[in-house]
Symmetry: C2
Subunit: 188 residues, 2 copies
């Protein structure tokens, strides 16, 4: 416990990030020319549409379901594992704009459910992660937000990769391009 005020602020801060992600993805990706969208962040990585598909999967099967498991059963039943490749094939017939809109609708529903389910007093309640062991609801919610930032950044890296050849000699200054080939690269 950190005090009710700090817990309330943590929930509000986390929610503020979570509610922004659909808007950021829409601004970045909806209607974007295909020239930016067909490149993965790394050779075996994901294109922006794969990233959005993964975020859809996590919204459907991970974030709120794990909140419910913590609140309903505590540490007794471990979380189900997230299928990291559920989007493969599933989303092929959908446009990127459709996927972005689908994610936005799922996120809005998740946040409404979060508001119903979680109060500041719940943040230290615990569940069991199948690999990591005991975790708190606070850590789960923080991870939800940072997972958004991680994957939106991945979409940015794929988009940058679409212009890898276009920047010519400037590539040595652009860490976002250098790191696609060598994770330890540091821009000049």
């Amino acid at each position: 416990m950190r005090g009710a005020g700090a817990d309330l602020a943590f929930l509000a801060d986390t929610r503020a990030l979570l509610e922004r992600t659909p808007r950021v993805l829409r601004d970045l990706l909806s209607g974007m020319p295909a020239a930016w969208l067909e490149t993965a962040d790394t050779p075996d990585g994901w294109r922006p549409r794969d990233v959005v598909g993964h975020l859809i999967t996590a919204e459907q099967t991970d974030w709120i379901p794990r909140v419910e498991r913590i609140l309903d059963g505590g540490t007794a039943v471990p979380f189900d594992l997230l299928d990291r490749f559920a989007q493969v094939g599933r989303d092929d017939a959908k446009s990127l704009d459709d996927l972005v809109a689908e994610f936005a609708a799922l996120r809005a529903a998740s946040l409404a459910r979060l508001d119903e389910l979680v109060s500041p007093a719940d943040l230290e309640r615990r569940g069991t992660h199948p690999s990591l062991g005991e975790v708190t609801l606070r850590e789960h919610l923080a991870t939800w937000a940072v997972h958004d930032l991680d994957h939106v950044s991945q979409a940015f890296a794929g988009m940058a990769g679409s212009y890898d050849a276009e920047v010519g000699p400037w590539k040595v200054y652009l860490g976002i391009l250098l790191r696609r080939e060598d994770p330890s690269a540091v821009a000049s």
Copy 2:
């Protein structure tokens, strides 16, 4: 030359990215709780407000001024170097929301000027970079766009870093956090 159609598409594609960046930054940062905003991407890196300050500097002194130098003088006079620390001190009295709005206004003016100045036939015109040597206008414009993606990602990394301690054991899965400490780290 790649043909007038391809050159026209390159200009439109590049512009599509450039015009989205102010919206992405506004959605991500405006009104955001301070808990997300006080951490740099790396120990000697930048907070989100430093990133926006740097983007303001580049808008004021780099992107359009270098376009003008290429069009006016070709390779004869090298570009002026960008001051990477111009934002230090300069922006201290401004709120992050003010900086985001200032950047948006500068970007809108830059794009209007780009439309006046550059046609597809200009893309192979050349200038001189003080360190990189001869570069084309096409490479300069591509770099402008990728530079946006690179620095917005940097803001994301700083925001993620604000929650570094909150995610608990999940950190091993979150590359955006691991890379802040070890650029070569790969998430589990």
